[in-house]
C-alpha cells in the first residue's frame, strides 16, 4: 500500500567544497536503499552547504559552493540545494538544520492535508445538495488518507558518523536527538568499520533501527580534498564532478594554494563553541 509508506526527505550537510559526483551518488544510493525496504518513499533530497563561519581550512565562499551545488543538481528531478544554512552569520549545529527542515516539511505537509480536507469538504457539500439522495452523508475523515508523519533523515558517509567520536565536535544530546527523532542514512564502502563503531556506542546502539547502513559496492572515492589537490596541480577533474561545475571552477579560478590556506590555524567553529562546554566532554559510550 503506497500510502502506508513513510515519506522521507534526505538532508546532506557538508562543506561541498566543491560538490563532486560522489556526493551526488550518496543520494541515489540512499533513495534506492530506502525504496527497496518497501517502507519508505523518498520525496526529496536537500543539499545544505555549511556557512563560511564553519572556518574549515580551505573553505571558499558559500556563494560559490551554493552556485556549484545548484549547477550540479540541475539535471536531478528530486535533489535540490537549500542555502538557508549557508546564509546564517554564525555556524549552526547540524541538529538545528535538521530541525529547520523538519519544521518546514511538517508545515508543508499540514498545508497539503488541509488542502485535501477542503477538497473533500467541498465534495461533501455537493452531495448534500442532491436532494434525491437518502444515503447518510459520508464523514469527511473517511476520505482522508492516513499517512505517517514525514521524516527528514541525515544523509552522510561513514566519516561523518565516525566523527561523532571526535571530542568536542558534537554535543551528545545533539547526536541523541539526531538518531532518536530523525534518523541517519549512512553510505559506506564495503569493508568499513561503521558497524563496529555503532556497536561500541550505547546511544547509537539503542537507536540502531534508525541508522540505515548502505553499502556502496562501486568504489567511488572522489573526495573534495582530492579534487582541490588535482586543481592546484593543473590536473584534469573531468568526469569526477559534473561538467558544469568544472566549467564554473575554471571560469572563476577557484581553488589555488592561496584558497587552500584560508582559515589556516583557525579553530573549527564547533570546536571553538564546545571547548568550554562541559556537556561536550561526555563520551558516546
Amino acid at each position: 500500500d503506497p500510502d502506508r509508506k513513510t515519506e522521507v526527505v534526505l538532508l546532506a550537510c557538508g562543506s561541498f567544497n566543491p560538490i563532486t559526483n560522489m556526493h551526488l551518488r550518496l543520494f541515489e544510493l540512499a533513495k534506492d536503499y530506502l525504496h527497496e525496504t518497501g517502507k519508505y518513499k523518498v520525496i526529496k533530497g536537500i543539499i545544505s552547504p555549511v556557512g563560511d563561519a564553519y572556518k574549515k581550512k580551505g573553505l571558499i565562499s558559500a556563494n560559490h559552493r551554493v552556485a556549484m551545488a545548484k549547477l550540479a543538481t540541475e539535471s536531478s528531478d528530486w535533489v535540490e540545494v537549500d542555502d538557508w544554512e549557508s546564509c546564517q552569520s554564525e555556524w549552526l549545529e547540524t541538529l538545528k538544520v535538521l530541525r529547520y527542515h523538519h519544521q518546514k516539511l511538517l508545515s508543508a505537509d499540514v498545508t497539503n492535508k488541509t488542502k485535501d480536507a477542503v477538497l473533500i469538504t467541498k465534495l461533501g457539500r455537493k452531495r448534500k445538495q442532491e436532494s434525491n439522495r437518502h444515503e447518510p452523508i459520508k464523514k469527511k475523515n473517511q476520505n482522508l488518507v492516513i499517512k505517517s508523519v514525514p521524516q527528514v533523515k541525515l544523509l552522510c558517509g561513514s566519516d561523518m558518523l565516525e566523527s561523532f567520536g571526535i571530542p568536542n565536535l558534537w554535543k551528545l544530546e545533539d547526536i541523541t536527538e539526531i538518531v532518536e527523532k530523525h534518523g541517519l542514512v549512512c553510505i559506506s564502502r564495503a569493508g568499513n568499520n561503521v558497524q563496529k563503531f555503532i556497536y561500541e556506542s550505547d546511544i547509537l546502539w539503542r537507536h540502531k533501527e534508525n541508522i540505515h547502513l548502505v553499502e556502496e559496492w562501486i568504489t567511488n572515492d572522489i573526495s573534495s580534498t582530492k579534487i582541490r589537490r588535482a586543481l592546484r596541480r593543473g590536473q584534469s577533474i573531468r568526469y569526477l564532478v559534473p561538467d558544469a561545475v568544472r566549467a564554473y571552477i575554471e571560469r572563476n579560478r577557484l581553488y589555488s594554494p592561496e584558497s587552500e590556506d584560508r582559515n589556516a590555524g583557525v579553530l573549527l567553529a564547533p570546536l571553538q563553541k564546545h571547548a568550554s562546554d562541559p556537556r561536550s566532554s561526555q563520551t558516546l559510550n
Binding site: R25, I218, N220, I222, A230, Q235
Partner: protein, 269 residues
C-alpha cells in the same frame, strides 16, 4: 627548443557501456604524459571491440558505439572509432594499433605535404610550425588488469605483446593500492621495454566497472553520476541491458582463446 612528441592514445575494450571511469583513463593518461615534458597528446580514440569477441553480456556494437559517442560529446579531444567493431572477425589488439597508426601516419604525411606546398612563416615558440615535424606516436591506453592479462594462457601471442610495447607503447592506469611495476620486473620482455610503458597511479579511486553498472541497471538501481546522463537515457530508450542480454554468449569461450591452438604462456620467460 626540442619539440614535444605528438601522442595519440588508443583504448580498446568492450565499453559495455562506456562509464565515467573509461573517460577518466584518458584524462589521467594525458595529464601524466604532459607532465613528463616530452609529449603532447593530440588525440584520444576509443575503439569498442567487435561483437565477434564473444564475451558474455556483450551487447550489439551498434549500441556500444552509439553510447560511446554520446559519452564523448562533451570532449574536445577524445573520439570513438567504429573501425574495429565493423570488422567481420575479431581483431587482435596489435592489428587495431597498426590500423590506427597507419591512419595517423597518412594524415601526418598529407599535412607535411601541404605544408611543403604552402610554407607558413615559422613563429617562435610554436613547436608545430617548426621545419622538422615530429612523427606522432600511438600508445595503447589500458588499466592494470589489461597488463596482467598478458599472463593469461592462450590469450596473447608473444610476438604481439612485443610489438605493442616496442613499436607502440603502453600507458597503464592503476589503482592507488596496486603497483604493476613488480609485474613488469618479473617479465624479461616487459622489462626490456619498460621505458615505453608508462605507469600512472590513479589516486582518486573511481572503480566503476561496467559489469556493476549492468548489474545495477538490471536491478532497477540508479547509475546516475557513474555514467553520463545521455548514456542512461539511451539505455532506457533502447532497452539495451536486461537479464537476457546478460546471458548472451554464455558458455562460449572468448574468440582470442578459440584462435590459440597450443597452450603457451607468452610471459614465462
Amino acid at each position: 627548443m626540442r619539440s614535444r612528441i605528438p601522442v595519440i592514445l588508443l583504448a580498446c575494450g568492450s565499453f559495455n557501456p562506456t562509464t565515467n571511469m573509461h573517460m577518466r583513463l584518458f584524462e589521467l593518461a594525458r595529464d601524466h604524459l604532459h607532465q613528463t615534458g616530452r609529449y603532447q597528446v593530440i588525440e584520444g580514440i576509443m575503439s569498442p571491440v567487435s561483437d565477434k569477441y564473444g564475451k558474455q553480456g556483450l551487447v550489439s556494437a551498434r549500441h556500444r558505439v552509439a553510447m560511446a559517442r554520446l559519452a564523448l560529446e562533451t570532449s574536445d579531444w577524445i573520439r570513438v572509432d567504429p573501425w574495429e567493431s565493423e570488422q567481420d572477425t575479431w581483431t587482435e589488439t596489435v592489428k587495431v594499433l597498426r590500423h590506427h597508426y597507419n591512419e595517423a601516419l597518412t594524415a601526418f604525411q598529407s599535412k607535411e605535404f601541404m605544408r611543403s606546398k604552402h610554407p607558413t612563416e615559422s613563429s617562435t615558440g610554436d613547436s608545430l610550425s617548426c621545419q622538422q615535424q615530429v612523427l606522432p606516436e600511438l600508445k595503447l591506453l589500458c588499466g592494470a588488469d589489461f597488463l596482467q592479462s598478458f599472463k593469461t594462457p592462450n590469450l596473447w601471442k608473444e610476438e604481439d605483446i612485443k610489438e605493442i610495447v616496442e613499436k607502440f607503447g603502453l600507458v597503464c592506469i592503476s589503482r592507488a593500492g596496486s603497483d604493476p611495476s613488480q609485474f613488469i620486473q618479473e617479465s624479461d620482455l616487459l622489462s626490456e621495454f619498460q621505458h615505453n610503458i608508462f605507469l600512472v597511479r590513479e589516486w582518486i579511486q573511481n572503480e566503476i566497472s561496467a559489469t556493476q553498472i549492468r548489474s545495477a541497471l538490471c536491478r532497477g538501481l540508479s547509475v546516475k553520476y557513474l555514467i553520463p546522463d545521455s548514456v542512461i537515457a539511451y539505455i532506457a530508450q533502447h532497452n539495451v541491458y536486461s537479464a537476457e542480454s546478460e546471458r548472451r554468449n554464455q558458455g562460449h569461450p572468448l574468440q582470442p582463446l578459440r584462435l590459440q591452438n597450443t597452450a603457451i604462456n607468452p610471459l614465462r620467460d
